[in-house]
C-alpha cells in the first residue's frame, strides 16, 4: 500500500489544486470584482496549506490580514471607483509568441531540474514536520520579541509611514489637515467685498487687487470717520 496516498497528501492535492485553480481564474477574469473573489479563494486555500504545515498562527493571520483586511480594502476601492470590465484588445507582437513558448519551456525544465537536484541532495536534510511547537503563537512571539526585536520595530515604523503616505495620497485636493491641539486655528483667507461674493475671481490681476485694496481702505476710513463727524455735529447743534 505504498502507492496509496495518505490523508495529508489528499488534502495537499485538494487545497493546492484549489489555490492553482483560483489563481488561474483570477488572471483569466476580466471583471476586477470576480478577480478579487478568486484571490480570496487563493488566500483561504493557502491558509489551509499552512495548517497542513503545522503553522496555525500564520494560517490565522493569513485569513485575518489578507482575506479580511487587504481584500476588503481592494473590494472597497473597486466598488468606489466603479471599475469597468477590461476591454478585449487585439494581440500585439504576435511574432514573439514562439519565443515566449520556448523561454517558458526552458524555465519549466530549469525549475524541474532544480527541484530534482534539491530532493536528491544530501546537504540539506529536511525532516518532515512532526508534532512540533515551531508554528505555535508562543514560539513565534518569543522569537519576535527577543532575537528579532529590531525587525519588528522597523515594521511598526513602516506601517506608520504607510499610514501617513496613504492619507496624503488619498486626500482630496488641498484641504488643510487638522490643526495641532493648542495651535491657533488658521482661518482660510477669503477676501469678500462685504456683500458675500468673493472679492478675487479667476482672471484678476495685480492691478485689480490694488484697486480692491484701495477701495477697502477708503470704505474703512469713511466708516471710522462717520461717528466722529456725527458727534461734532451734535456738539455744534447743542451750542447753537
Amino acid at each position: 500500500m505504498d502507492w496509496f496516498p495518505t490523508v495529508t497528501q489528499l488534502l495537499f492535492v485538494l487545497f493546492g489544486g484549489m489555490a492553482l485553480g483560483c489563481a488561474v481564474a483570477m488572471v483569466a477574469q476580466r471583471n476586477p470584482l470576480y478577480s478579487a473573489i478568486s484571490l480570496v479563494g487563493v488566500f483561504v486555500s493557502l491558509a489551509c496549506l499552512y495548517v497542513l504545515l503545522q503553522a496555525p498562527f500564520i494560517a490565522a493571520i493569513q485569513v485575518i490580514v489578507y482575506a479580511g483586511a487587504i481584500m476588503v480594502l481592494v473590494i472597497f476601492v473597486i466598488m468606489l471607483l466603479n471599475v469597468e470590465e477590461e476591454a478585449r484588445r487585439p494581440l500585439r507582437l504576435t511574432y514573439l509568441i514562439p519565443v515566449g513558448v520556448l523561454l517558458a519551456a526552458v524555465l519549466v525544465g530549469e525549475a524541474a531540474f532544480m527541484l530534482q537536484l534539491g530532493s536528491g541532495s544530501a546537504r540539506i536534510t529536511p525532516v518532515a514536520p512532526a508534532a512540533s511547537d515551531v508554528g505555535l503563537t508562543a514560539s513565534i512571539g518569543t522569537g519576535m520579541f527577543t532575537k528579532y526585536l529590531l525587525p519588528f520595530e522597523v515594521t511598526s515604523v513602516l506601517i506608520l509611514m504607510a499610514l501617513v503616505g496613504a492619507i496624503t495620497l488619498a486626500r482630496q485636493g488641498r484641504t488643510p489637515l487638522l490643526a495641532a491641539p493648542g495651535a491657533p486655528t488658521e482661518e482660510t483667507p477669503v477676501l469678500t467685498t462685504g456683500r458675500g461674493q468673493p472679492a478675487i475671481t479667476p482672471g484678476d490681476t495685480a492691478a485689480t487687487g490694488r484697486a480692491f485694496a484701495r477701495e477697502q481702505i477708503e470704505r474703512e476710513e469713511s466708516a471710522a470717520a462717520a461717528p466722529a463727524a456725527r458727534a461734532r455735529e451734535a456738539e455744534e447743534r447743542g451750542e447753537g
Binding site: 500564520i58 481592494v74 476601492v77 512540533s132 513565534i140 513602516l158
Partner: protein
C-alpha cells in the same frame, strides 16, 4: 508524508501565475492583486521551509512580508485612487505619460 518539493513546486507555479498576471493585465487593481499573489507564493515557500527545518525564523519572515503587503495595499490603493481621480480610468496604458 508530503515531500518538500511539492510545496516548492506549487509555490513556483503560483508565483509564475502572478508574474504572468502582472504582465498581461492592464487594469491597475488586477495588477495589484497579482502582486499580492506573488507575495503569497513566497510566503508558502517560507512556511514550508520553516516547518520542514523546524526553525521559527521563516514564519517570522512571513509575518513581516504580510506587514509589507498591508502597507503596500494602503499606499498602492491610494495611488490607484489618485490616478483614477486624474485620468478617470484605471487602464495603465492611459497612464503612460507622467504629465496629464
Amino acid at each position: 508524508m508530503i515531500p518538500l518539493t511539492w510545496y516548492l513546486a506549487l509555490s513556483a507555479v503560483l508565483f509564475t501565475i502572478g508574474v504572468v498576471g502582472v504582465i498581461i493585465k492592464r487594469n491597475a487593481i488586477q495588477m495589484f492583486m497579482c502582486i499580492e499573489l506573488m507575495l503569497n507564493a513566497v510566503n508558502l515557500t517560507f512556511v514550508a521551509f520553516s516547518s520542514y527545518f523546524g526553525d521559527v525564523t521563516g514564519q517570522l519572515f512571513v509575518f513581516i512580508v504580510m506587514t509589507v503587503a498591508a502597507a503596500e495595499a494602503a499606499v498602492g490603493l491610494g495611488i490607484i485612487i489618485a490616478i483614477f481621480r486624474n485620468r478617470e480610468s484605471l487602464d495603465v496604458d492611459d497612464a503612460s505619460l507622467l504629465r496629464l
